[in-house]
Symmetry: C2
Subunit: 240 residues, 2 copies
């Protein structure tokens, strides 16, 4: 199992690669042609957008705000995207790719199905910890934007949920998990994972660290799908 610090570095490294992908995919909209310049400015623009929309919301963030925050002029910004809507598409795209990539990499490392479930939960929490501004933007802002952005957000939700459903079904088929509704169980997992980045203020105010939260979520879920005798080894003997 990877530690949070190693994890953090790994994700940061992947960020640039994905900006290069974005550059290729959105070649029509990006008027600048020198890859080095584009990637540098895209990273700046993305980070500024994430920061501003977290404070005042994406809708409320004007391109002028973005101009002040990035130091780029209005005209310069419009060389990187056709309009605000495309900007959020790019950011969602970037995050979705990264999430998929990392989640699969980590899960595939695990041989056992119980390890896979634990890793999927923990990795998702680590991801939302490192990329919390992106996760927040994708779920909280996308819903009132273009149909494309909404579809992206839903697809993302269902995609990661499917990962959990598959692991749960696999565990049930192997006889390791006992459950009769993998869809509802996966929905519960998704809900608590989402709470971690939607209510960050609550958890950080209480000084609850990501690993403590992860341990507790794993404890709750395993309580439902394993025999009690197995789970109680995991999270103390749960007395008092």
């Amino acid at each position: 199992m990877i530690t949070f610090d190693v994890f953090k570095d790994m994700v940061m490294l992947s960020m640039e690669d994905i900006c290069k992908d974005i550059f290729r995919e959105f070649a029509d909209s990006i008027k600048i042609k020198k890859e080095k310049v584009v990637v540098k400015n895209l990273v700046t623009i993305f980070n500024a957008t994430l920061k501003l929309s977290h404070v005042k919301g994406f809708q409320a963030m004007s391109v002028r705000d973005l101009s002040h925050e990035t130091g780029l002029s209005m005209g310069a910004l419009y060389s990187y995207f056709k309009g605000k809507e495309e900007l959020i598409d790019m950011i969602q795209n970037q995050g979705l790719r990264l999430t998929k990539k990392i989640l699969h990499e980590q899960i595939e490392k695990e041989p056992g199905v119980r390890g896979k479930l634990q890793t999927a939960i923990r990795t998702h929490l680590y991801l939302s910890e490192v990329l919390h501004l992106w996760f927040y933007l994708s779920y909280m802002e996308a819903k009132n934007l273009s149909k494309d952005a909404q579809k992206n957000a839903m697809a993302n939700e269902l995609y990661t949920e499917k990962i959990f459903i598959d692991i749960l079904d696999e565990g049930r088929d192997l006889g390791e998990f006992i459950l009769d509704n993998s869809i509802l169980t996966a929905a519960v997992i998704k809900a608590v994972l989402q709470d971690w980045y939607l209510k960050r203020w609550k958890y950080s105010r209480r000084h609850i660290a990501v690993d403590e939260y992860a341990d507790y979520i794993i404890f709750v879920i395993e309580n439902v799908i394993l025999n009690r005798s197995e789970t109680s080894e995991k999270y103390g003997d749960n007395k008092n």
Copy 2:
């Protein structure tokens, strides 16, 4: 235990009372003085606001949109609130009062602590089912608006969470529940309750009814805080 249909009627009846309260509390901003007219129009305005912000977001909803939807003119609307910001304050206020009132009424009916927990979960789900537009607006939109609206949203979150924490602590003190972290457990409960109205599209697409969801959530939570022998009576023997 109350049924969902009875519950629905009960909440609707309370709505008017609370509009009267709002009228008194926001007397400074509301220029119209005849209570009957005010209450009638407030209900119209609130419902229109909830509907429009659910479709396009509260920020994106203009007062013009609201004028078309309600049939009231721009000028008339501004006789009921000083500005858009105050409008959302009123709506939040209305919902918060109603939630508090109903939640306490239902919980107090239950003598046992296990029944209280079940009732609190089920009532919260019923409430968000009946008032889902309000719940959605309060959590999804309020965060990027005025400081007041944000504080309201946070207060609401912590308030209902506290209800669960208290029940859990009471159960532990009575020796009925076994748990070592009532705060994290309550946070998990809140997270799954919230998922029900944030991802309504997902559950309605899958034809999952509110009672099925409630049963499952109660099953999961009781699995964590009761002995397995007790919980398995509740949700089948959990075999597939």
